[in-house]
Symmetry: C2
Subunit: 214 residues, 2 copies
DNA sequence: TAGATTGTTAATCGATTAACAATC
DNA sequence: TAGATTGTTAATCGATTAACAATC
């Protein structure tokens, strides 16, 4: 059977459902309805059903969804059935932080390597990892087979970091550098631009300050 | 004159235009067309004009836009005319990194304070800042007047951190903790969920590996 | 004036929400 | 069977793109 391709916002919500359902699973509940999922995530129950329908029929009318099979289905759809190995390029402040960031060393991801181009950093150890030479990435990754990359270099170095990643077989990239990256057809990049996020927030800051008169 | 409220994606693009135009300004070019902006940002020239039109008429038909006035207009719209002070709550790995992150200490933002609730951390210094006690935030911020907050606590502490921020007069919040936050009417929150971003990326990773036969 | 480029309207596209027949 | 809840279709909503009259 062929399904219409799911829109990107749907994929984002799938990740949200997965987190919620894993919590539910841990709490021992075995069945949920789309209305229950709405209660936890705030996402409209119709939207929940619609999102799931892009990938199959996982529920039973009148009953709802069995939690454990649904968790497995969602993990499978997102490609998280096996723990994904991750590499970081750029051992600056942000890169260093992400190595220690527990949010990434959770069940789905495992930080496998960190690279830099600075000879003062290469060879040093960072937590449990040694900082590797970016020039050796292609040969090292022939063994390691990391598919997920994170770029935390300055903007000027981002394209070079990305090129090395393509050369090494990395398939998807999360880019923290404030620079657009040109990518081949078969590679996906997501830009996370923290400065831009802050700027957007500032727009929503109420501009008029009501001066209180005592 | 009243303008129709701009959609959220427009605000995000405004930030992109601003960055591009600042670069252009530095390079000494004084006029740009929407087609020029498309060339740099990849955003459709019609879209550029439409986005700007939510806020006024900044260009001249046949000529284009004067760069410097447009930069100032955009900065003004986003609320960036003055440098915005920022506080971080949560002096863990991510919080520590962001203190040193040069992306934030650029022209638009200034990191003014970092808070934690852990007595082993409070009083220690982090780069140029001293880690402050979250309990003292409301009184400290009466002097400091920070309006922009970043939450880098564990998920369980996020709501408490947010509550302290509301109490202290913070108006907009960027939340890195994997937890939804309940906010009063007049406060805006943006969630940045790095794990979710990675999960979305994994979905776009080609699943079938073509085995090469020698 | 002729050429260029704006601001805006109308057409298109896509995503969300509402509603309901099917079914457990 | 009656009540609950799915999967899906149709209606709505909103954002993007195309096109062009206005104008520098």
């Amino acid at each position: 059977m062929i399904f219409k391709q799911a829109p990107e916002p749907t994929i984002g919500r799938l990740a949200i459902y997965l987190r919620a359902l894993r919590t539910i699973l841990d709490s021992g509940v075995s069945t949920v309805s789309s209305a229950d999922i709405e209660k936890i995530t705030g996402i409209n129950s119709g939207q929940v059903r619609k999102d799931l329908s892009y990938f199959g029929e996982f529920g039973r009318p009148g009953r709802g969804y069995s939690v454990e099979p649904l968790v497995n289905k969602l993990a499978g759809i997102l490609g998280l059935h096996e723990k994904q190995k991750v590499m970081i390029v750029g051992a600056g402040n942000l890169g260093t932080a992400l190595v220690g960031y527990t949010g990434f060393s959770n069940s789905d991801f495992e930080l496998a390597a960190i690279y830099d181009n600075n000879f003062n950093k290469i060879g040093r150890s960072l937590w449990h990892l040694e900082i590797l030479d970016i020039e050796n990435m292609p040969s090292i990754n022939r063994e390691m087979n990391v598919n997920v990359g994170i770029i935390t270099t300055p903007g000027t170095a981002a394209q070079y970091a990305a090129d090395k990643m393509f050369e090494s077989g990395v398939k998807v990239i999360m880019n923290f550098a404030p620079a657009r990256i040109n990518v081949p057809e078969n590679v996906t990049v997501r830009n996370v631009d923290l400065t831009q996020e802050l700027q957007i927030l500032c727009y929503y800051m109420p501009k008029e300050e009501i001066v209180e008169i005592k």
